[in-house]
């Protein structure tokens, strides 16, 4: 097991180098001069442009710039962005906010998705099942931004139950509204996955055996049906966590959440290579970690899966 984890961790190195190089190159190749863009319509003096270029190594060729970036990274110095802010501080600010948002969304979709899916599966064909299925279709069909604007308008402005935006004081409470929006779409998928899986497992031999042994209904449902139905759901949730971390741009925009999505968007618009690459690097690590976690959970959920020969 330890060997397996070590091997997986070693794989991170080439993935990390590859992605950062690719992203660095893409930002480098973006059209427009980022330094000139700092000045708007009024042209700055030539000497100021030159001084800034020097300051950010933009007068160096691509490989030198990338090399300097790697060198800085290994000395745990992410440098400063074009606005003079330390990039490490920026990461330390935006990642906790988005992590909170993602975890909250993940919790909402996991708890409610699995619970509703389980009940719907157990009562296949009954009214609850059909209602939930139709409702989940509706949720999947409505785009995130529509859902976001409507919730914001109804809950935030009309009913006044919550602040319509998050802003500076992001905490578990204020993030509920965006987390709900973010979690809703995946909630529908989790629900449908769980339901299908539960229905499939209800007729499995081991469930029949467990029932025949005289185990109580709750024990059969929770220990046998649910546990075995979790494998596809966990895979989906694991892949989803990475997506939630990076893909919350729309939701963060609607609810003005000062998180990763917003910062990444701004950094790309301003062609701030170092910031973009730093954020993407952390996202890569989150993805890799989430996938590793999913693989380890498999072994726990289904002991037949073994990582060592």
């Amino acid at each position: 097991m330890t060997q397996y984890i070590l091997r997986r961790l070693l794989q991170v190195i080439p993935v990390f180098l590859g992605t950062t190089l690719l992203v660095y190159f893409m930002v480098f190749a973006l059209p427009g001069d980022p330094i000139r863009a700092l000045f708007g319509d009024r042209p700055p003096s030539e000497s100021v442009i030159a001084a800034l270029r020097q300051q950010y190594n933009l007068d160096q060729p691509f490989w030198v710039q990338y090399g300097l970036f790697l060198k800085n990274l290994f000395t745990f110095n992410l440098g400063v962005d074009f606005t003079g802010q330390p990039i490490a501080a920026t990461l330390g600010r935006v990642f906790p906010v988005t992590a909170m948002l993602a975890v909250e969304a993940l919790a909402i979709q996991a708890v409610f998705g699995v619970a509703f899916g389980l009940i719907a599966g157990l009562r296949k064909g009954k009214i609850f099942d059909s209602t939930v299925l139709i409702a989940s279709l509706v949720v999947i069909a409505v785009p995130t931004f529509v859902l976001g604007f409507v919730l914001q308008l109804v809950v935030g402005v009309q009913l006044g139950w919550a602040k319509p935006t998050v802003g500076a004081n992001a905490d578990w409470g204020t993030l509920i509204l965006p987390a709900t929006v973010l979690g809703l779409v995946s909630f529908a998928y989790v629900l449908r996955l769980t339901r299908a899986s539960v229905i499939e497992n209800m007729n499995a031999d081991y469930v029949r055996t467990a029932t025949a042994k005289g185990l109580s209904r709750p024990r059969v449902v929770l220990a046998h049906i649910l546990r075995n139905s979790m494998i596809p759901v966990v895979t989906y949730l694991g892949a989803n966590l990475g997506g939630l971390m990076g893909g919350a741009i729309v939701t963060e925009g609607i609810f003005n959440v000062p998180g990763v999505g917003q910062k990444l968007y701004q950094a790309v618009i301003r062609s701030e290579g170092p910031t973009v690459v730093a954020i993407v690097s952390v996202l890569v690590l989150v993805f890799v970690a989430a996938n590793l976690l999913v693989d380890l959970l498999y072994a726990w959920l289904d002991p037949r899966i073994r990582y060592e020969k």
Partner: protein, 560 residues
């Protein structure tokens, strides 16, 4: 507030979805409207993360600018009408428009207790101008004698044959800027500029305490100023979230704060801010989402602002177009100007968020005159336009089948009004006119510089400081930096030079107005409309207004 039928239906859907998912209690977020009655009467306002640390000379964009303007007070400030009034300056004297003697008032203090003296200005200006400090607004000092030396560059040719320039100042301070004593500064400009004092209210010219120059980086994070507000605490700038300012109790100037403080909340998108103002969760926003421009006056019946500021839009006519030269060309320019229905386009296309132009400058500038002789050519008159066009054709006929191209950049939302202007020309003059789209503004700029644009082009200008000259000189003087169309009239140039050498602003403005009379005859470009600032505010505040440059006068806003 009102909801349309669709939004009601969508709302019901959302509530149903919430109930289904068991999240009906999503409103547990504690303080819905509790912030409304804050006892400290702190105003909250829309803003965004400043692009640079808050060093006045390095702040050249709007979001940092509005904060710096409140934190610092310079030699002069601008009143709501764009008139430059003395603030820390006791007097600014000149006999020739080139040599200035500035007396600084005594008694003013920075919020750390340090006195504001003439040295606070001289050191700050020299710091700002020196190229190795890479300050964004360094070019504002270019009029001062000796600027060339502090901003000199050296060309270096690298191993790959590419040459790059590096800053290589030959002096550390500007020779024209002299500190006489604690309260006196003398300034020698490279040439006479009577409107130079009008620039002194711009943030680049603010004084700095001595600590600022020792560690500019740390200072930019926690700036110490002398203006109507100060930072609420060390670290009051929460990056990507907000900046909190509180009233500076020691402030003596005329921009007295009428509220306890201003907290600028950052939004990367104007839409959530608009929603927040509707929910009384934000007090004022001055950037409206595009789709709200049609509805903001009904969404906020008594809580909205639409006021012209110092920016305009024009249709520029290249001087090399053969059809627009000589007497016939002059008639054509007039005909086209009178064929454009500015009132209708600003009303229909812009929902009244632009104001039809009456001159070549802007109404928020001191010296503005809506009735300059000859400005009748900006009034819509289809019959007269047709008549003038026919007269021009009698002298030299308009080439058969020629299409008049109107160049515009598609990245700025210009298509609608360009099409409207083209339709005006078609219907009222009977000629073929059409928009000529370009993806980027820079593309058009390249063609304008190369003088190869086949037709007219749209252009806009935003003033750096409230002076009529700032609209006329850089754009239309012979050989000026932004005079891409190549307009040249010695009589016009002479009036500008005389204006700059005047003894007073009023005398200068008279000359600049006379210069505009020439422009109305020549029509080097066709003024279309003035830019205007739109803003809406919550039920919790009142007295919202904007200044000459479109920035809200935050110090005047009062909490209810």
């Amino acid at each position: 507030m009102r909801f349309s039928r669709t939004s009601k239906a969508l709302g019901l859907l959302a509530v149903a979805a919430l109930a289904l998912t068991g999240c009906g209690s999503a409103g547990s977020g504690s303080s819905g409207q509790a912030t409304a009655g804050d006892p400290n009467k702190i105003i909250t306002a829309y803003s965004n993360e400043p692009q640079h640390p808050l060093m006045p000379s390095n702040t050249n964009e709007v979001y940092g600018g509005r904060v710096v303007d409140l934190l610092f007070e310079g030699l002069t400030t601008y009143d709501a009408n764009g008139k430059s009034v003395n603030a820390l300056a006791q007097s600014i004297d000149t006999s020739d428009g080139q040599n200035y003697t500035i007396k600084v008032k005594s008694g003013a203090k920075f919020t750390n207790g340090e006195a504001v003296t003439a040295k606070s200005f001289v050191d700050a200006w020299n710091f700002a101008a020196l190229s190795t400090n890479a300050q964004a607004s360094s070019s504002f000092f270019e009029s001062i004698d000796g600027y060339d030396a502090v901003s000199a560059t050296k060309k270096v040719t690298g191993a790959d044959g590419k040459s790059t320039s590096t800053p290589a100042p030959t002096a550390q301070t500007m020779s024209g800027l002299v500190l006489k004593d604690d309260s006196t500064i003398t300034v020698k400009l490279a040439q006479p500029e009577a409107d130079w004092p009008q620039r002194l209210g711009y943030s680049a010219f603010m004084p700095l305490p001595s600590d600022a120059l020792k560690d500019p980086k740390a200072f930019g994070e926690n700036p110490i100023g002398n203006g109507p507000y100060k930072m609420a605490a060390k670290g009051a700038w929460q990056h990507d979230s907000q900046i909190a300012l509180v009233k500076n109790p020691d402030y003596q100037g005329n921009r007295t704060a009428k509220n306890g403080g201003v907290t600028f909340k950052f939004y990367t998108d104007p839409a959530p801010a608009y929603t927040d103002v509707q929910a009384n969760n934000l007090d004022v926003t001055d950037v409206l989402p595009t789709n709200a421009l049609k509805t903001y006056t009904t969404d906020f019946p008594d809580h909205n602002l639409n006021k012209a500021y110092a920016g305009n839009a024009t249709l520029n006519i290249p001087n090399y177009l053969p059809e627009f030269q000589g007497a016939a060309g002059q008639l054509r320019r007039q005909a086209i100007s009178m064929a454009i229905n500015r009132d209708e386009i600003t009303k229909v296309v812009f929902n009244g968020t632009r104001i039809p132009a009456k001159d070549f400058t802007s109404p928020s500038i001191d010296g503005y005159n809506a009735n300059v002789t000859g400005s009748d050519v900006l009034k819509f008159d289809a019959a007269k336009a047709k008549d003038l066009w026919a007269q021009a054709n009698a002298m030299s006929p308009w080439p058969a089948g020629k299409v008049l191209q109107l160049a515009y950049n598609t990245d700025g939302g210009n298509k609608e009004w360009i099409d409207a202007v083209a339709n005006n020309l078609k219907n009222n003059l009977g000629i073929q006119a059409e928009g000529q789209p370009f993806a980027k503004f820079a593309e058009i700029l390249n063609l304008r510089t190369a003088k190869t644009l086949p037709g007219f082009t749209r252009a806009g200008w935003q003033a750096d400081y409230p002076s009529l000259y700032n609209f006329l000189g850089p754009l239309l003087k012979t050989g000026a930096s932004a005079n891409y169309e190549g307009y040249s009239n010695p009589e016009f140039d002479k009036l500008l030079t005389e204006g700059l050498a005047s003894k007073s602003t009023d005398d200068a403005n008279k000359k600049f107005t006379q210069a505009q009379e020439i422009l109305f005859k020549d029509l080097p470009n066709l003024p279309l409309w003035y830019q205007a600032r739109q803003a809406v505010w919550s039920q919790n505040v009142s007295n919202v207004d904007s200044g000459w440059n479109g920035v809200l006068l935050y110090y005047n806003i009062t909490a209810k």
